[in-house]
Symmetry: C2
Subunit: 689 residues, 2 copies
């Protein structure tokens, strides 16, 4: 084990050093244009302000939760094992801090890279791609490095995996709020800017006369970069945690279960480093292909390295290798089917664009329908991946089957460093496109930036499918973790162990139905948050155009900060209630109906959460690209009725895909972790359990 | 038992006679206005044509299925019990025939009542209400009478409840297609008529110049009357069947389980007869209140009568009475919460109307969000009802708990005669309103008809919540029926019995994820059917306005039949694939992964099916009433931007609430019945089961 701790630390440090090198490389790129410099500073200031206020709020929240943990979890402090409580509380705080750090650094690099990327777009695709991609890669490397380092450190110091649950809960509770808050911020601004700018005034997307334009660009950073970073940090930690918790419970001589978890994770990070280092695009190459091919390279390297490790190290198993490979390949397949439903060269996007010609109702109806259909392959994929890895590992012995599922999730998330790099690339080049327009860099540069941006959108669909699939597998294995934690508690109480959760038990069924409703309510609250907030911002934009003389003609500057302020205050107000609904309902169900109900609750939550997350992400991506497809000249092109309808579809899809959809991921993880952490409490006190 | 067979037949015959009396009463109302007569004849002809073509197609389908049943179900005919197969096949055909008959009679009465209702609206609310309500009541009495008669007859002749599964499958497979086909027809016409008429041309809803207006009225009959009738016939049969199958398996001396099922059902019908006979509205009374209060009267009578029966008959149990009362009361509560989310005197409708002032994207986003939130109380209600009746009946002995859940569903559906009457009232007065406008009966009459129509819409929300709740409980008890059928088959094969479905078993989990995707795919296919079909019809309406000289000015007649034809052909083309997806997936999962996977599949299907059905019904009702609220003058009233946005919301909601939402109900029932019927096959042949 010691070896793998050391290797984990070394790989993390290698990732940090490489990130530092890339950061310095990006920073060396020059900024000449004064306007771009001014605006990118405005964006940075807006993002910093929001993050500072958000983190202050979340800091207070984390403090309260840490106190609660100290007193109550994993068991009441008066029950005589205070060290466990202290360690769990500290691990919780470390988890929140690292997650916050990941978001903060992401914004730092992204706001540094966007202007540089815009300027280098003047020299063509090749350079600009590198700036955008390497900016994103700094984020990817740091997030995964922090994750590996953190998990290894907590495990080494605590010596017990149940403390890791606290660390993981810290990471995911922060991610829940960061994703929700950032998601509400970004979509408030995006929706308002589009509706007033594009639809009402007919001005371009990033026209500097629009008072919401800076808020929109700030949103890309706080929502897509910081929120997404926290989200994937959380998924990765949760996947490792659940695998380690189950591995510790195995006690199978001859199987180096915990070693494998660390080894696979560190090799994944190592493979991502190589993939990132080799990513390039030719002078007139295709950025989408470059991003995808580096993903495939990373996958191949990972598979080869882990196969090598299986040969080399004693106690490593080929069955586990196959499980993890299954997870990874299913992840890629889910990504590709997502791509089929959201890529504008494929038939579905064209059909929705065509339906738009009959009016916005048809845009909504057809997009909703294809969004629902798109869930099927991913759901079947996740189900198959769980089933295959279970069957592969069941012959190894008691409890190994569920460990197989956990390793399948670890496998799917192994290349997460690459995934985050690709994902963070998106908002950087999106910002760069805006800066190129606002800085007046000319048509050619904007076209180059557009091409980079479109690659970002396509790749985003793939990575989103990936992260939903990984979350699905992770929470399935967290279900196993919950059961083993509950059984530990039951054994201490002298009660009979749970062997499973029978659907025909009405307590389980009760939990199932309640759990299934939570993602619907949670996402509805987030969407309503965007809805309410955007209505306020639209009113403010109208006010500015009505009262600021010369704004429409471009002779006067709008008051950008007012819009940023509305988005900030709205996001901060809405993010806590939505997150609390999920956490509080879990505790309520557990304290009222006991562990069996929680088993059902978690499953209901996973099933409907996956369905809604896939639906919302895919439908949103579909509408976004249908709009772009119409804008490229189809169905009458810009300004046609089809375009107006497609813009409405895109506006509906925005909070689906960037606020609610990805937050559901985190919501299901948080709920699973809360359940595991509170399992001892549920086992001892529950009203009817 | 013999007594209850006789009582069931007598009550059914009483219902038939009362229906005949009401039918003759409606027929006696005079029709004077020639234009109304002409148009209502057009509607009748359109509906008859559609039904004839639909039934021909479904007849062929039923023939094929009956043959398959004959050869394969419940066990292959060569396995040596051919009588079972023959009886099941005959029962299947009887189920389809009675379901078809219910739809056919409903249309007959509805098309008879609509014109008469319009004309009597000239004399005021009181008379017109009675015509509309009694027309609906004919349908309600006949459907429930047929159900009770059919179930009692099949059970008496076959002497075994497993043949009832065939009868129930016949009823629900026909309902599935009738609901889907009718739903696609009605919304194709409705959406196209609204979009071209109201939005593009700014003419009134039922303006005779609109080529789709007759198709729209035909749709009310084939979708809302015939489809809804088949749907509730199916739910009622399924609830009785699952209760009887479980009751037969109980073999509990001293408990008259099967007798109770028949007794509760016949008392429910009896209570509905009294409720219908006493429904009245004063001269200036409130029709909504009249409809609701007769529902409450029926509920009270039912509870009193069943309490009396519990005292009177030996082997009846108060625990069962409480379970059934719980179901009924939870049904009412679900209806009331639905009302809260969809009534335009309550805050939610007003909020969505207010959001519409900011544009259609906000209409969609807020409606979707509240639709999702509205699922929570109903899901918790269904879960609680199942949990309470389980806990109530568990102390009675082995297997009684699940019988309690089944009786809770029977209780919820006991007043279904009243529910159908209220539900069928809706399309009758909706048609009457159209006829009053097209027949030129003047402003006052139209206003009266409008008032009746609005009551229909409000009550519809309540009855929809009711029928979804009942379907939920029914399929939970069908899960029990599936398990007991499977165990019979396993025992015959000498295999070990199933004691439950453990979520931690990855085969169950696999089924769960696949099952959860099916309602999403199924409803998407139906919505796409409407979407595609409406695009064709909109094109046809545009063509007519472009090519028929004088149509816009009202000097030339449109070609109504062309629109009816488009709706018919489209509906027939789309209804089979959607229904087949559900049936074929069930068989695939069963034959590949075996009974355990099917257990998970059914639960996944129930959970996501309930969630989506509630979401779609409620969001649709919410948008509909928001539009009406804006039309009543709020947010700028008719013609304002808010109105345009609200109309788009209503158009999206139409196929949600009238095509997909209510069809999901039937889909989950069909899947459960297919699973039960095929349980013996799954138990003996499955690839990995």
């Amino acid at each position: 084990m010691q070896t793998f701790f050391i290797l984990s630390f070394l790989t993390s440090i290698l990732a940090f050093l490489f990130a530092l090198y890339l950061y310095l490389w990006v920073k060396r790129q020059k900024v000449v244009n004064g306007e771009i410099d001014r605006i990118s500073l405005l964006i940075k200031k807006g993002a910093d302000t929001f993050i500072a206020r958000e983190y202050r709020l979340l800091g207070m929240f984390a403090g309260v939760v840490a106190l609660l943990i100290l007193v109550l979890f994993p068991s009441p402090i008066w029950s005589g094992r205070p060290v466990d409580n202290i360690m769990t509380a500290v691990a919780y705080l470390a988890g929140t801090a690292l997650s916050a750090l990941a978001g903060k650094i992401g914004i730092l690099v992204a706001t540094l890279s966007n202007g540089r990327c815009a300027e280098s777009a003047q020299n063509g695709l090749k350079d600009a791609f590198l700036v955008g991609f390497r900016g994103g890669a700094v984020m990817g490397l740091l997030v995964v490095g922090c994750c590996l380092f953190g998990v290894a450190a907590v495990l080494m110091i605590a010596g017990d995996t149940s403390v890791l649950l606290g660390f993981s809960f810290g990471a995911s509770s922060l991610a829940l709020f960061a994703k929700a808050g950032g998601g509400i911020f970004t979509k408030t601004a995006d929706v308002s800017a589009d509706l007033t700018g594009k639809v009402e005034l007919g001005i371009a997307e990033d026209d500097p006369r629009n008072p919401a334009v800076i808020a929109d660009n700030v949103g890309d950073n706080v929502g897509d970069v910081a929120g997404m970073g926290a989200d994937l940090f959380d998924s990765n930690v949760a996947a490792m945690t659940s695998a380690l918790v189950i591995a510790q419970g195995l006690a199978m001589p001859g199987l180096a279960a915990m070693e494998m978890v660390l080894c696979y994770s560190l090799l994944g990070l190592f493979a991502s480093i190589i993939g990132i280092a080799t990513a390039r695009v030719g002078k007139d190459g295709n950025p989408t292909r470059a991003l995808n091919s580096s993903t495939y390279v990373t996958t191949a390297i990972f598979l080869a390295l882990t196969a090598g490790a299986t040969v080399l190290f004693e106690g490593f198993s080929w069955r586990i290798w196959l499980s993890s490979a299954t997870g990874l390949i299913v992840g890629l397949v889910i990504g590709l089917t997502t791509d089929y439903f959201t890529d504008d060269t494929k038939p579905i996007v064209k059909r929705v664009a065509h339906a738009s010609a009959s009016g916005p109702a048809f845009t909504i109806l057809s997009g909703t329908s294809y969004g629902f259909i798109s869930c099927l392959p991913a759901m079947v994929g996740i189900a198959l991946s769980a089933l295959i890895s279970y069957q592969l590992c069941a012959p190894m012995g008691d409890g190994c089957a569920i460990f197989g599922i956990a390793m399948s999730a670890v496998g799917m998330l192994s290349i997460v460093g690459m995934i985050i790099s690709n994902d963070a690339y998106g908002p950087i080049v999106d910002n760069a496109r805006g800066l190129a327009e606002m800085g007046g860099l000319g048509e050619d540069t904007i076209r180059t930036a557009d091409e980079l941006d479109s690659a970002g959108n396509t790749v985003k669909a793939v990575t989103k499918g990936f992260s939903i699939g990984a979350a699905g597998l992770t929470v399935i294995s967290l279900l196993g973790a919950f059961m083993s934690e509950t059984n530990v508690a039951l054994a201490q109480l002298g009660k009979e162990a749970i062997t499973g959760f029978d659907i025909m038990d009405p307590t389980v069924f009760f939990g199932l139905l309640v759990g299934a409703s939570i993602p619907a309510v949670f996402s509805a609250m987030l969407i309503l948050g965007v809805d309410k907030n955007a209505q306020r911002m639209v009113a403010e934009i109208h006010r500015q155009f009505d009262t600021i003389v010369g704004l429409k003609e471009g002779k006067a500057d709008p008051d950008y900060s007012k819009c940023i302020d509305i988005a900030t205050r709205g996001a901060l107000r809405e993010l806590i209630p939505a997150g609390m609904v999920a956490i509080v309902t879990t505790l309520l169900v557990g304290f009222i109906a006991g562990p069996a109900a929680i088993g059902g609750f978690l499953v209901g939550n996973i099933v409907s959460g996956l369905l809604l997350a896939l639906f919302m992400s895919n439908a949103g991506g579909l509408w976004d690209n249908s709009k772009k497809y119409v804008e490229s000249g189809a169905e009458g092109g810009k300004g046609s009725d089809a375009h107006k309808a497609a813009v409405i579809g895109d506006t509906v899809g925005d909070p689906y895909k960037d606020t609610a959809g990805p937050s559901i991921n985190t919501q299901i993880t948080v709920v699973s972790l809360v359940a595991s952490l509170a399992s001892a409490l549920f086992a001892s006190f529950s009203l009817f359990g």
